[in-house]
């Protein structure tokens, strides 16, 4: 048996109790929701903790409700399965349901939560291995090692941000709430992420993510595509999300985000600029897709499945596919289906 290391365990039933417990020793305490990321990481000793606090017993952290401005607030411990099957999500934020349904397998989605997906540890081929494997290469910078095996001359870690709900929620302009013993703060979800594979969240260790909020629907169109080796279980090597607001023929506002290409979600600034004020058609799609591939941050490294060159090429195809779906253009057959 691959056993978890010994830790002390708490099951608070209110946010106050949880933040108070967490504040006692944030550095050696970890939060757990569904455990589908934390438990594998602790079993392989990537992550350690003296104390683990479960958020599952906190009723106010779970469930989906409509906000006063007509948007949707999703509690941090709402399971991925509950989000994917929610009627309001299906009706007004279908691309979010698609993204959530692409995560792992149905078994994992019955336990895994949205909060855990947003705070998911970054991933790398040299890191997501068992302890013996990592010891044999003297570990790497993300643990106790000296260097980064992906980019040995680099001073930083490039492990990959892999939460598949992240790009679509960023594209929708979602907001999150972080709560600590000292109070609450609200920030755009995009500001939760830092471009560093080790220190990948701007959340302080004493803070709990309590909620993610989507703005009220206002006639936008959205799409999500994900690339991975198998149609289930595997993490993605690329996810692309776009949300666009079009008044008449031309695009007023559009957001295109990539996931699993770097240590943060990546906003395709150049592609977005190229589409504003124009119709979304074959020509503008081709231009925007080519720009996405050349964009800053969109340069996959050799630290996930598949060759980085091929993954880079697929950015162009997948951005085009997402924009085509948004514009109602016929679908082109690409690499492996991301979904049945």
């Amino acid at each position: 048996m691959l056993r978890l290391p010994v830790f002390g365990f708490y099951q608070p039933s209110t946010i106050e109790e949880a933040t108070r417990l967490l504040a006692e020793n944030p550095a050696s305490t970890r939060l757990v929701a569904g455990g589908t990321d934390l438990w594998p990481n602790m079993k392989r000793r990537h992550q350690v903790a003296e104390t683990v606090i479960s958020l599952r017993g906190i009723a106010e952290l779970t469930g989906i409700r409509e906000t006063s401005d007509g948007g949707l607030a999703i509690g941090a411990t709402t399971t991925l399965a509950a989000i994917a099957s929610d009627l309001r999500v299906g009706e007004s934020y279908r691309a979010l349901a698609t993204a959530v349904n692409s995560i792992s397998s149905p078994l994992v989605r019955n336990s895994g939560t949205i909060g855990g997906n947003l705070c998911l540890d970054t991933r790398c081929t040299y890191y997501n291995q068992n302890e013996e494997w990592r010891r044999s290469i003297d570990y790497c910078m993300k643990e106790v090692g000296e260097i980064c095996w992906v980019a040995p001359s680099s001073p930083r870690c490039w492990a990959v941000s892999s939460g598949d709900s992240v790009p679509i929620l960023c594209a929708w302009g979602a907001e999150i709430t972080l709560v600590s013993k000292d109070g609450a703060r609200t920030l755009p979800l995009a500001e939760l992420f830092r471009d560093d594979g080790i220190d990948y969240l701007s959340k302080r260790p004493d803070e709990i993510l309590t909620e993610v909020r989507l703005p009220a629907p206002s006639g936008e169109r959205a799409a999500f595509w994900k690339l991975r080796r198998r149609g289930s279980i595997d993490f993605g090597v690329l996810s692309v999300a776009a949300v666009g607001w079009c008044g008449g023929e031309t695009t007023d506002r559009i957001e295109i985000w990539l996931g699993s290409v770097g240590s943060t979600p990546v906003r395709c600034d150049e592609s977005i600029a190229a589409l504003i004020g124009k119709p979304i058609d074959e020509d503008t799609i081709a231009e925007a897709a080519a720009l996405a591939r050349k964009g800053e941050g969109a340069s996959p490294l050799g630290n996930t499945d598949f060759l980085p060159q091929w993954r880079g090429k697929m950015i162009e195809h997948y951005v085009a596919a997402v924009l085509r779906e948004m514009a109602g253009l016929p679908r082109e057959r690409l690499a492996p289906r991301h979904q049945r």
């Binding site: 002390g8 078994l107 019955n110």
Partner: protein, 183 residues
């Protein structure tokens, strides 16, 4: 660090099991090592294979990624609880009659994932079955017979015996409500 131990009663297959275990032990470990139910298998223990699947409050989840301490007060169902009295569950008889198991290591997890699916959708299409079993790996069968067996199990449960598979794939004699025919 000292182990924190927990004493409680888990509700497994409709029966109470009084157990003592360390809080960092998973439901998989406690089922196999404390409750003595070894039908739930351990494979990867990292969420990647599905052989440890059980139902918790009717939903198919991975027992290798659930702490036992968090299962107190919830209904746990394992493969040992599938039989209805002395009768095999229709999913079990369908698996046997269609030869849907070879080494059988993945079977308990697949049966539980299938039961979870049928509770939500008694008439799943082939795509629904493929989707629901997307977290369960089988290294022997090539999946085809598994998919057929889940569909046949669902048909028996619905009482739809007319969709019985053709004789060339059907080796069983256990069709509920029908006379057992001697070969």
């Amino acid at each position: 660090m000292k182990e924190q131990r927990h004493t409680c009663t888990l509700r497994v297959n409709g029966e109470d099991a009084a157990v003592v275990f360390a809080v960092h032990h998973t439901l998989l470990e406690v089922l196999r090592e404390e409750v003595g139910l070894t039908g739930t298998k351990h494979g990867c223990e990292l969420g990647e294979c599905g052989t440890c699947t059980v139902l918790i409050d009717g939903k198919a989840v991975l027992s290798c990624l659930e702490l036992a301490v968090e299962c107190e007060g919830r209904e746990i169902e394992t493969v040992e609880g599938l039989m209805i009295g002395n009768e095999l569950h229709p999913l079990q008889s369908a698996f046997a009659d269609l030869g849907a198991a070879q080494c059988g290591y993945c079977t308990p997890g697949i049966l539980m994932a299938a039961k979870g699916l049928l509770a939500e959708n008694p008439s799943p299409s082939r795509d629904h079955v493929i989707e629901a079993l997307g977290g369960n790996l089988c290294r022997c069968t090539g999946y085809h017979k598994i998919l057929e067996a889940v569909e046949w199990g669902a048909a028996i449960l619905r009482g739809d015996l007319a969709s019985r598979p053709p004789p060339e794939v059907f080796h069983g004699d256990r069709i509920p409500g029908e006379e057992v025919v001697d070969a």
